[in-house]
Symmetry: C2
Subunit: 387 residues, 2 copies
């Protein structure tokens, strides 16, 4: 078990009707900017709930933050924040909106060109950001209970991540009722995203961190249990609640403590989103099975444990169970109507592996995977296997 530090100060308000409580979480004299995305919150009732909860607060609005939050849009929001002397941010949306607000939280208290926060060597914001809370409307990324974020910049075709201990939300509201109105393909993305977040922190070389591994397996099983219920047309509040809490627990820092983590699937998946605009979660489903097959020797112990504990497969050798584990993973993605081959998403995939290899080479990667020993050439082979 590796040494670790863990601190997560975000206050979670979980359950039906909890949005009404945010008036107690934000100072009465705050100048608040509510930030949201494409406007779905005006259809599902969340916008009205927020307005009602904050009717005695000083509340401004900024809508239109897109998926894969775009730097250019956020810079406009930043101008608004400075112009209106905003001192509290409220993200109302999914991971993209929350990520955008984290960047704004850092940028509002940063002297200099905001893009530097993302491009400086360390890419970590050490200071205290502008305080902010979140109201989650799309469970998936876990951004509502961590301090990391990813920002895209179309003009340079970059997608960069950052974060820092001063960028945790002060509070996050998780009301499973929001899941009623989410389109099924986005629910499927959320499940696949959270599931892969767990895998990135779990499907590594064997570790001695017994409890963390078991909690990771708990999240995987619970997501599997919730999946058919939240994908069904009948709304199931308890299943929605489990799904929502699993997404948060998948990436709030807890299961990564004391273990090595991988994140190579995300690194390769980000490229596929950049090239073809494939939904983030679906790129993970494309890359993960190939990644596990390519790194079979390193990961077969954990794959076999996953087969046993998560899927109940007790027959066969370690290798046989590990192979079945990857098939089970693919079948799980397919059960969500998520395809697992690049050719399922684009016919224009020729040269993708070369492009990923080149991109990783140019960025001077120190090595991918939990042992930091995968080269851009390894990435070439993994991506090629995923065609």
């Amino acid at each position: 078990m590796l040494n670790f530090e863990f601190k997560n100060p975000t206050k979670i308000l979980f359950g039906k009707g909890e949005i009404a409580k945010i008036s107690n979480e934000i100072p009465k004299d705050a100048k608040i900017l509510m930030i949201y995305g494409g406007g779905s919150i005006k259809k599902n009732g969340v916008y009205d709930q927020v307005k009602e909860a904050l009717k005695d607060h000083n509340l401004h609005e900024f809508g239109g933050v897109p998926a894969n939050p775009e730097y250019e849009v956020l810079v406009n929001a930043l101008s608004f924040i400075k112009e209106k002397n905003i001192n509290y941010l409220l993200a109302v949306g999914g991971g993209s909106v929350i990520d955008g607000v984290k960047f704004l939280s850092a940028a509002a208290n940063y002297e200099g060109e905001p893009w530097e926060i993302l491009t400086k060597p360390v890419r970590t914001f050490e200071g205290e950001g502008m305080p902010f809370g979140t109201i989650l409307t799309l469970p998936a990324t876990g951004s509502e209970m961590n301090s990391g974020y990813v920002i895209s910049r179309r003009e340079t075709n970059e997608k960069l991540s950052s974060g820092g201990p001063g960028l945790f939300p002060q509070f996050s509201v998780l009301d499973p009722e929001v899941i009623r109105s989410i389109p099924k393909n986005q629910i499927a993305n959320g499940i696949a995203d959270a599931y892969t977040h767990v895998l990135e922190q779990y499907m590594t070389s064997p570790s001695s961190a017994d409890l963390q591994e078991r909690i990771a397996e708990s999240i995987l099983i619970s997501l599997q249990n919730a999946a058919p219920k939240v994908m069904s047309d009948d709304f199931d509040y308890d299943a929605a609640g489990n799904f929502m809490w699993c997404c948060t627990m998948a990436l709030n820092g807890l299961i990564q403590k004391g273990v090595i983590t991988d994140w190579a699937v995300h690194a390769m998946g980000h490229e596929l989103t950049a090239y073809y605009g494939i939904d983030h979660a679906r790129t993970l489903a494309v890359v993960a099975p190939s990644h596990y097959r390519y790194n079979f020797d390193t990961k077969k112990g954990k794959l076999s444990q996953y087969a046993e504990r998560v899927w109940g497969i007790t027959e066969g050798s370690t290798e046989e169970k590990a192979e079945q584990a990857i098939v089970k993973l693919e079948e799980f993605f397919h059960s969500l109507q998520i395809q697992t081959k690049l050719s399922d998403y684009t016919q224009d995939f020729a040269g993708t592996a070369e492009r990923v290899e080149k991109a990783f080479t140019e960025r001077n990667w120190l090595g991918l995977g939990e042992n930091k020993n995968l080269t851009p050439q390894d990435a070439f082979k993994i991506v090629e296997m995923s065609y």
Copy 2:
């Protein structure tokens, strides 16, 4: 799944050598009071590590806080805090020392008679306590990552609990190396204490909080796995680490969220400690099996699930699995050399059930158990079953 709020701002520093880092966690200009118990920290090297880490800080000391931290001793510490203008507390010890420091944290910022903090109707301290950190030397109670505490007052034979959102440790150091020098009977107590903490939050009527239940089961299994290794004479760092982290995770608030909780075993167990001085953890092992047998109809669903998921018992009816679950629980306590009948600890047990019934009646209990419907007469029968 019930609505819940969750916030736990304590920073955990986990692993070998982490004590050295506390100098970064405490302000340089703080006037610190290090508080400890009977002096075992001077034998196991922890005292020296703390002194070394804080050699450039202004550090005072107060030793001699006993198990079941005693009000009278703590009032002396409070006088010392006021006299020396202490503004930061450092607990170095097990749950008793940490609980005592939480009380001091509240009392230092409280105007009026300190005992009021524990006896006022709500028994919750709403303010901010004096900031404090902890260095855990005995894994068991989970006090290092929550905001509750229990204080005893010998002159009135009272044992009262309190807590509040301003009473979380700012940081807690969990170095598994401390387990090397803990006597085996105290390790056994720690395992049984943490295990029963999980049961109090899990062994209730069935719930729909799938993830929380699975995390609770993960802690139980992981404690079971670690138990024989940490009870062995050969020190196993990884097992010690898992044991330590399980104890913290058992009572840091996470698994109680969204579910109903019981805590009747603790309520009855506290009485046995008060009457006979039996170690807290051992009183839980005495009461729990009888409590589950007495409330079999309410709890058999969860007992059966526990049998299946935690002990791998898949044969038999719900009732049969539930009965086997209680036997497995007793066997687990026995494997720790912890006996599960009151008569194993005292021959002077006649009248205990009457005494518990009377005590509960006098205290106007609103009802014990997860459904708050157990009467003092029920407690009589449960305690009688545990003779």
